[in-house]
Symmetry: D2
Subunit: 138 residues, 4 copies
């Protein structure tokens, strides 16, 4: 469990007032929590650029009636067995599936996996959420 | 099943050459597939700005030893039962969890849910992947 | 001249350490200045989404040998006389020009102007920098 | 002057229809022009990641009554004389200035210059527009 430290921040009065409106709007309880999130966001950007181990989620939207895409998505996932933790599959409607792949590994491999899936004929959309293992985000 | 149509695109020779290098690098089989993805990406941006029904994935990183955050994450998810399709929970290490929430609904509600989760004390990081129901993305 | 206020922020020790590395890297003198910038960035996002008066810079790259584009760029700028403050024109090489248009006005008009310029045949690239009048950013 | 080549693109009928709505909305004359812009945008991303010579615009908002910031902005600009092409200065109101610095050089130097200016006490906001020399964007 990490210790909480306290330090002072000096900001112009008006900026603090605007900030207080913003954090109320974003549902934060207090300034420390809002600032904590902004700092973490910057640290995660750094993790992804420095090729440290990261965590992410790849989303895929595809039509499961196109058999070929279903098989290829499976094949590719097996080639990245080490990076893929688990996969969640959701039937959006009669045709469309949402598949969410939880991943952990080096950024360059995660990005390669995302590009390989994204480029498949039949994948309608894909995104990559860049997150963190949490170990450096106390 | 949607019909495939063909149309001609006129581009400067050098731009086509640079584009061909790019799509090779991104693992696309041909120009049509790369262009299709760029177009879909633009359409999804539009869907999220126009408040049509969308699909997404919220990722959360948190320390499950902080009991309070675990309970609050559950409570909030129950308040957005209509928008949440399913949740995938992964134990990253002794302390850290990755939770991926598959969501479907109006963008403003999805964003409100994300903000509410993100602002919880104990959530180390959260992301929102903006995707699509796929119905308008043939 | 705005008054400087001071408040305390509580953060986990490790997060502060990581933050200190980050701000050293980004050349900030102290934590307050780094936090001030993060807060302002969030406020400017809000200004652009709320349709308050904003400030920006539009960049255009084009080949000035294509006479038609030169004339159209001028015509369009005259139609947005109220939003355009001034224009800086730079000869990058024998063919290519960089034009930077300083703008001030409502976000939707600034975006419309950018789209209109961007869609011109002959414009190779354009960007829009979203900034602020500075009046709410003490 | 570069030659225009023509090639065929195969896309699902519905996607073409959605695309046509989008490009009408964004004021493009035809599909080729919209696709051309999407392709160039991807190429510029690549230029900035590969550390080729690029072009950009840095915007700064500051209060010119704070003498110290005015002098430091000048000093720093002189240290990056090789990268800075020219500077446009606009008086937004009694207090606030917009300064737009046109730059050309290696991405890492442009980013270092931006970070150095951004971190100055007194700079209220800064942005960096990433554009191109235009030579590889026919």
């Amino acid at each position: 469990m990490s210790k909480i430290f306290r330090f002072g921040v000096s900001l112009p009065k008006e900026l603090i007032e605007e900030f207080d409106k913003l954090i109320k709007n974003k549902k934060y309880n207090n300034r420390s929590e809002a600032l904590r999130d902004m700092i973490r966001q910057e640290l995660i950007k750094k993790e992804w650029s420095e090729n440290k181990e990261v965590v992410g989620a790849i989303t895929l939207i595809y039509n499961h009636h196109k058999r070929e895409v279903v098989n290829k998505v499976l094949d590719i996932q097996h080639n990245f067995q080490k990076e893929i933790i688990s996969t969640q599959h959701i039937h959006l409607d009669h045709d469309n599936c949402l598949e969410i792949v939880a991943v952990k590994g080096l950024p360059q491999l995660i990005i390669k996996l995302t590009d390989t899936l994204k480029s498949l004929k039949g994948i309608k959309h894909s995104t990559l959420s860049m997150s963190s293992t949490g170990t450096n985000l106390q």
